[in-house]
Symmetry: C2
Subunit: 233 residues, 2 copies
């Protein structure tokens, strides 16, 4: 270590991370107390604390009061994904974005949607199907349910012009979010709308939001064959 070099908290973090990588601190090992590391690196304990907090969040170390800091034995692989607004995703790929409303109907909540929201009783929901296109080719098909109790304004939105996706993002903040990924087989209507061969494998993003305890919306976004979602660096 170059003691002359001023260490920012990110610098301290990188130094500790490097030591974990090169086995100076091996998996399971107990690290020195923050104060000792601070003394060694010539910075304040606060700075070490900030660095450690980051490493802990990243799943590299585990910290316990009195117990000290330990290198995790089975480091968790933790990856963060940005789930983009479809329009922006398309435009960022340099393609022309288009949008088509397929259907829009008021319906009573079906059971599987109630399950996603975790509610016991059905209510009136707006059921919207829409297609997002990139360069005039199908890109993502969304099947969305919007709770008209928490979000009555949606009933007066012209969904032929603006996608529910964007309207909600701009006007309806949420307090809780669940996201999951899966794969489904292209069949029937889905295959037709996406112009995908029947039987091809499609990537699905499912997203559900609440405001407080109240459901807002749940959507299944089915992507065209070949779609791939990558973690942010």
């Amino acid at each position: 270590m170059n003691v002359e070099t001023r260490m920012s908290w990110t610098g301290v973090r990188d130094e500790i991370r490097a030591r974990i990588l090169n086995r100076t601190y091996a998996p399971g090992d107990k690290l020195p107390r923050d104060e000792d590391i601070a003394a060694e690196l010539g910075c304040a304990r606060t700075t070490v604390q900030r660095a450690m907090q980051d490493l802990s969040l990243a799943g590299l170390v585990e910290r316990k009061r009195k117990g000290g800091t330990h290198v995790r034995t089975d480091p968790v692989t933790r990856a963060t994904f940005d789930i983009p607004i479809t329009r922006r995703e398309v435009e960022q790929r340099g393609a022309k974005y288009n949008y088509q409303l397929i259907s829009r109907e008021l319906e009573e909540t079906p059971i599987e949607v109630m399950a996603r929201f975790g509610i016991q009783r059905p209510s009136r929901m707006l059921h919207v199907k829409a297609l997002h296109l990139a360069d005039n080719r199908p890109y993502i098909l969304e099947d969305r349910w919007i709770d008209t109790t928490s979000t009555p304004e949606i009933l007066s939105v012209d969904l032929t012009r603006e996608s529910a996706n964007e309207w909600l993002v701009r006007h309806k903040p949420y307090s809780r979010l669940e996201v999951s990924f899966s794969a489904v087989k292209a069949e029937g209507e889905t295959a037709k709308h996406l112009s995908a061969p029947v039987g091809s494998a499609l990537f699905v993003i499912e997203r559900t939001t609440w405001i407080g305890p109240a459901p807002i919306t749940t959507v299944q976004a089915v992507a065209v064959p070949g779609y791939q979602l990558s973690a942010r660096n």
Copy 2:
């Protein structure tokens, strides 16, 4: 606001987040300077700074020196996933974990694997196929390439007893990671190994790691039909 209440930085974060949700600060709005918020909430600027850093990381606000802090107009949906060690994932579901080595061969790097690693020239790699089982039923099929230059030790590991997955996690730290998700159709060998109907849709996790500039391993983990990956809260 109860001025008497002591605000931790998480408390400040939650208060600001609440104000964004209830439109006290609407999308696009400029927030007061950290110092003013600190004065209002009765805490030090450092505390506000810590809170804001977190909100910024979460994608809720955008901060610029001199420019101030703004509520993001299109808040990014950001979700973090833990990609588990398969054994632990299975065991956490209360199932019995088993593992079978399918094949293990030294081969020259094929082009698509070179592309994943971002390398120009082939080298000798260990190509491993293995099956993870839950309650004796196929669960995840992995197709893995391990660079024998960066990781020669792998050649003396008994992969019939220990999965490459676990050995690598325990013995080989990485400095860079790429993760992506996609969907593939069950066909040929893959369908057979997973006992999945030909044509069903399978969820795929692709993971590639490096140590410095050197490739370590890349793996395609194909899950059984119905597999779903959820974000951590």
